[in-house]
């Protein structure tokens, strides 16, 4: 089972520019979480802080009792072996073939025989659909293939925590859908804690158990997916709808005058309730996700503290038939 990641009061700035302040959240063990946010809100910085590549000024990131921010370098290195990080463009070693890239963590950290390494690596290559390309250099393949190779390398040590930095960027919608399914299947197979950083709405709507959003140097919200998907928060609503009207502007946030002018012009047209798309299920033949039962217990335990819209959305999700695969129901009549 995956490991819980506890983030407490994390604050990071580069020089005088503050990136985000006082981010506090918990990634529940074994569940899939998504961190949303407009471009340039420090999502990648957040990922790199979780794994200790960047050192925030304040706060803690606790994993198995090790603080990735302040603990001695040796403990941090040891804890990193629990992680698999998929970089935005793969970050493969340019001088090594895909096979050697994917075998690298095994050769560095285990004493496995070469035949054993070959078996594991080929298995992972097959999972991400790169069979036949293992002899190529990273410079000779497309960006999407590099991403998948990066994912295979992140998976090779059977990580307990998987972090994905924009798995969709540079991929077409079909490949993005395959990748979403791949991530869910992975979660069903190895039950690892996963955090996906993205601004892709399809991934956000179908993959995660939990969602959060970074905006204006703060964590807007983090919680079960229904909370964010039913949120009336203007930033969240604008982002999920992909509209121009709202607090998010082209360069940064808009000023108050522009916002007021917009509000007059748009009026009530924006207040349309969103239908919640059901979460993806593992492919047929795979075991059910063990996180589902744990999450249900956890969410039902905290349901009284959630906003009413989220509460009814969660009830509806679970009424639909205790976690069994169901097709999306047209929930149009019910309203929110």
């Amino acid at each position: 089972m995956g490991i819980e990641v506890v983030v407490e009061g994390l604050t990071k700035s580069f020089g005088r520019q503050s990136i985000w302040r006082d981010v506090t959240l918990t990634l529940p063990a074994g569940e899939v979480s998504v961190m949303l946010g407009p471009s340039g809100t420090g999502k990648t910085v957040f990922l790199k802080s979780l794994i200790g590549l960047l050192k925030p000024e304040k706060g803690r990131v606790l994993i198995n009792g090790v603080d990735m921010v302040n603990s001695p370098e040796r403990d941090v290195y040891e804890t990193r072996k629990l992680f698999g990080l998929m970089f935005q463009d793969g970050a493969l070693f340019g001088s090594m073939s895909l096979f050697d890239n994917i075998a690298f963590p095994l050769r560095e950290h285990t004493r496995k025989k070469e035949s054993e390494i070959r078996r594991i690596v080929m298995e992972r290559i097959e999972v991400v659909g790169l069979l036949g390309a293992e002899g190529k250099l990273p410079g000779e393949i497309s960006g999407g293939m590099r991403k998948r190779a990066g994912l295979a390398r992140a998976l090779v040590l059977d990580p307990q925590i998987i972090l994905c930095d924009e798995p969709d960027s540079g991929l077409d919608p079909v490949r993005t859908a395959y990748l979403s399914q791949l991530l869910i299947d992975l979660n069903a197979q190895i039950d690892a804690t996963m955090l996906i950083v993205t601004h892709n709405l399809d991934i956000a709507a179908t993959v995660p158990d939990n969602m959060g959003m970074l905006f204006r140097r703060e964590l807007v919200t983090f919680g079960p997916r229904e909370v964010l998907l039913t949120s009336e928060e203007p930033v969240v609503a604008q982002f999920l709808a992909g509209r121009r009207e709202g607090p998010i502007g082209m360069s940064e946030e808009k000023d108050a005058a522009a916002l007021a002018a917009e509000a007059d012009a748009v009026g009530a047209a924006a207040a349309r309730p969103r239908a919640i798309v059901p979460q993806l299920e593992p492919s047929p033949g795979l075991p059910p996700r063990r996180a589902v039962a744990r999450r249900r217990e956890r969410v039902m335990g905290m349901i009284d503290q959630l906003p009413p819209a989220a509460r009814s959305a969660i009830r509806r999700t679970y009424e639909r038939g205790a976690g069994a695969p169901t097709l999306p129901l047209p929930a149009a009549g019910s309203g929110a």
């Binding site: 590549l53 040891e78 990193r80 072996k81 992680f83 990080l85 970050a91 493969l92 070693f93 963590p105």
Partner: protein, 254 residues
């Protein structure tokens, strides 16, 4: 401005200390070490030999002309050989190691840094300092020591050739003045200098390569800086080491 310079200096020393510790950490990257050693040697041997012949010749001619005016022509051999072995040879070696080997090391590490390869390595729990920097620094040190022997020999032969053939010096006087003035500690300090210079060249190249400022242009700038910083440090350290040596080791000619 001053704090910035001090901070960079501090980081340079911190990296040097980290490399010193990581040298003894298992597993030693033997393969990477051999590859880097071969690479640094292959780009420096030929230029070093080619530079050292005229350099030895220039020193021999200059010293020969001076000693002729002073009537001390019989000491030309000892003087020019000492100048070559103690000063010229370690500096030639260091300049070539920094210029040819160090710049390549800096560019290699820098481009890996901006492609996030080094971050990926750290994420996988592998220290880039131990995996990449240590073998490179050891390679520059090893090549510097060996190359210093080569340059000393070639430089001395060049000096001998020009003194005896061009300036009508006598081979016997050349050799006897050499054995009258030179001692083994001259060779030791020469090799020690080469070792230290090789270390400096490797550390500075690695430090600049690990911290390029933004994008491919930053890597270019880092290579440039690494060569210039190494040269500045080399001449300063050379002065200090020469000063200390002349103070503590008694000259043989007494």
């Amino acid at each position: 401005m001053i704090t910035g310079a001090l901070r960079q200096t501090g980081r340079l020393f911190a990296l040097a200390a980290e490399v010193g510790r990581a040298v003894f950490r298992r597993p030693f990257q033997f393969r990477e070490f051999v590859e880097q050693f071969w690479f640094v040697a292959s780009v420096t041997i030929l230029p070093a030999a080619l530079v050292s012949i005229p350099f030895g010749a220039v020193i021999a001619l200059q010293v020969g002309s001076l000693t002729q005016q002073l009537g001390a022509q019989s000491f030309t051999g000892g003087a020019s050989v000492l100048a070559v072995v103690q000063q010229a040879s370690p500096l030639i070696v260091a300049l070539l190691i920094a210029g040819a080997g160090g710049s390549a090391i800096c560019a290699d590490l820098g481009s890996r840094k901006i492609r996030e390869e080094l971050d990926a390595m750290e994420v996988m729990g592998v220290s880039p300092v131990q995996r990449l920097v240590v073998p490179r620094v050891l390679a520059t040190m090893g090549v510097a020591v060996l190359l210093n022997g080569l340059v000393s020999v070639v430089g001395t032969l060049g000096g001998y050739f020009f003194n005896v053939i061009m300036q009508d010096g006598t081979p016997g006087a050349y050799l006897s003045s050499f054995s009258a003035l030179a001692q083994l500690s001259d060779l030791y300090i020469s090799e020690l200098k080469a070792l230290v210079f090789g270390f400096i060249a490797g550390i500075v190249a690695a430090h600049r390569g690990l911290n390029p400022r933004g994008g491919p242009k930053g890597v270019g700038d880092a290579v440039n800086q690494s060569v210039v910083i190494t040269f500045l440090l080399l001449f300063f350290v050379n002065m200090v080491m020469t000063g200390i040596y002349l103070q503590i080791v008694p000259p043989k000619g007494g």
